[in-house]
Structure formats: structure tokens, C-alpha cells
């Protein structure tokens, strides 16, 4: 049985290599540059190997998204755990969210813009995605205000952050006002 175990380890290792390489390539040159040929060349295998791990390019994007979701959840929790008081926790969360989006644009796209074939806001939503939302909820639920459902408030706050992140990166908003917009968002939306 040891031979088979080794093979499975090697397979899993190669799968991680594919995901990591796709992510790296996407961060370097954008998702358009992540073609099956280029990806195959970088991992030093032929194209069809990719299809023995994933159904297609979409699933590779989905794998990067899941990896990113876990990282984002960790980043958000790290940011809020170091802050005292509701106001600074919310501000730290919002700041960490936008920073993650800015530093990992390709991962952010895989998560929220591209089609990675993932199910959202459902029973069968993958755990990392649920957990990333949970990380938002932990902090934002505290400031939803009287009679407002914490999850609903979190969705709204998240939408605003998402709008800021995407419009800024797409050149629809100038980066100059980013700080002020963020302050205003926290001040107005949250009940502190």
C-alpha cells in the first residue's frame, strides 16, 4: 500500500504546484495570461495533466479562490484581534479587507469577480468561503444596531467594501480619496 500512498502524495503535491503557479502567474500578469499552455509549461508538464486534476480552467480559478478565502479570513481576524473597542475593530477590519484586495488582486478576482464554479450563500458553500464571511460577521455583527439582523448588516457592509475595492482597482474611483471614503463608511454605516 505504500507505493500507492506515495503516488497520492506526489499527486497532491503536483496539484498544489498547479494552484500556486496559477496564482503566481495571475498576480504577475493577470488572469488572461493564465492559459493552459503557459501554466503547463511552468509546472513542466503537458497540458492534459492539468485536466487530470481539474475539470478545466474554471476549477483552477476556484481552487485559487478557496486558498485565498482562507488567507483573507486569517488576515481579517489578525487585524481585528489587535484592535480595542468597536470603532477601531471595524476600522481595522475594513482597512484589512481593502488592503487584501489591493495586495492580492488576482486572488480577489478569483473570489468575487470570476467564475470559479463555486457556490455562494448556500448550504453546500465550501467551508473557507463560509468562514471568510464568518470573519466579517464576528466584527460587524457587533455594530449592526438595534433590530437589524447581523448577517444582513454584514452583507451590506461587505457590499460597500467590495464596491470600493473593485471600482478603485478598475480605475473608476481615484485612489486619493480612499482613506476618507473608508472613514465615512465606518462612521455612517456602523452603530458605534
Amino acid at each position: 500500500m505504500s507505493v500507492q500512498e506515495r503516488k497520492e502524495r506526489e499527486r497532491a503535491s503536483r496539484e498544489r504546484l498547479i494552484v500556486a503557479t496559477a496564482r503566481e502567474l495571475a498576480e504577475q500578469q493577470g488572469w488572461d495570461a493564465v492559459t493552459t499552455r503557459r501554466l503547463a509549461e511552468r509546472i513542466e508538464y503537458s497540458q492534459p495533466v492539468l485536466y487530470s486534476h481539474f475539470r478545466g480552467k474554471r476549477e483552477i480559478i476556484g481552487a485559487v479562490a478557496l486558498e485565498g478565502a482562507a488567507e483573507m479570513a486569517a488576515a481579517l481576524r489578525a487585524a481585528t484581534s489587535g484592535a480595542d473597542g468597536r470603532r477601531s475593530r471595524v476600522a481595522a477590519l475594513a482597512h484589512a479587507y481593502l488592503e487584501f484586495a489591493e495586495r492580492n488582486p488576482a486572488v480577489y478576482d478569483a473570489l468575487f469577480q470570476l467564475d470559479g464554479g463555486l457556490a455562494f450563500a448556500r448550504e453546500d458553500t465550501p467551508e473557507p468561503l463560509k468562514d471568510a464571511f464568518a470573519a466579517l460577521l464576528e466584527t460587524l455583527g457587533e455594530v449592526a444596531g438595534e433590530g437589524v439582523h447581523p448577517a444582513l448588516f454584514t452583507e451590506l457592509f461587505w457590499s460597500a467594501l467590495h464596491g470600493l475595492a473593485t471600482l478603485t482597482r478598475a480605475g473608476r474611483l481615484l485612489p486619493e480619496g480612499a482613506g476618507q471614503r473608508l472613514d465615512l463608511l465606518v462612521e455612517r454605516l456602523a452603530v458605534l
Copy 2:
């Protein structure tokens, strides 16, 4: 000179046909289905004709976006003009924005998600885009609150709307809570 004028009219007419067909096709089957071949076939010309009007597919998307921006501005103004009082004007604006996004997903994508080669938030931004933002500003500037720059407030409110629109359509948010999220947004963000 009449001959040349007729030719120019015909050319302009064909250009409108291209844009209208691209939009129609995108709304019916998504932007992925808008290929140069399919588009050429629908307008009953060969592919190269498209390139005598536009530099490439990107510019066609941009043309659809400009058309959409004008329509959106009109829709927003129509919605707010029929409402009395700040609160109902803002609510009507927000509702009209999300409705436009939902009813014209392809146009909305061309405007805010895809690369149509357009300049945003700049001096040389095309007039229709400036005007669409102006339409938002007219209503939202009234409720920015003391000491808050109207344009900055408008950008934030717009970001929230954009986040709601895109996350909902991408399946990241369930449509059920849409009404409540919108109410909460207006109530919290605007100073009424």
C-alpha cells in the same frame, strides 16, 4: 457633396447597427457570446467591416457602455424627479440604480466591469460617463451631511450600490434580502 453625405449617413447607421447588435447579443447570451464572427454574421457583413468602425472588440464594448451611461443617467433622473422629499428621492435613486443593473446586466458590465478602454474620473472622461455620475451627485449631494464633500459621499454611496448590484448578480448575495439591504443603506448612509 451629396453623395459623400449619403455615404457618411450610411456608415453612421451601420455603426449604430453594430453597437445595437452587440448589446442585444450580450444581453441575450452574455458578452462571451459576442464574438467578432457572430457579430459580423448578425449584421450581415464580414468581420473586417467591424474593424473599419472600431479598433477592436474593446472599443465596441466601450460604445455600448457610453450608450448605457446615457440611458442610466436618464433613468436615474426620471426616478428622482417623481419623488418628493430627500428620503424618497434617495430611495428612488438607489432603487432605480439597482433596477437598471438588473435589467441591463450586459450594459452594466460594459460600464463598470469590463474593459471598454474608457477613461474614468479624469479630465478626458467621455461626457455620458460624467453625466451619469452627475445624475447621482444631484440627488446624493443633498444628503451628504455637514462637512462632507458631496462628491466623496456620492462615490461612497455609489460604491455600495455597485457592490450590491455585482455581488447579487454574481450569486454572492441572495436576492431575498435585497429590499432590506437597500432600506438599510439609505437609512444609514444618507443624512436625511
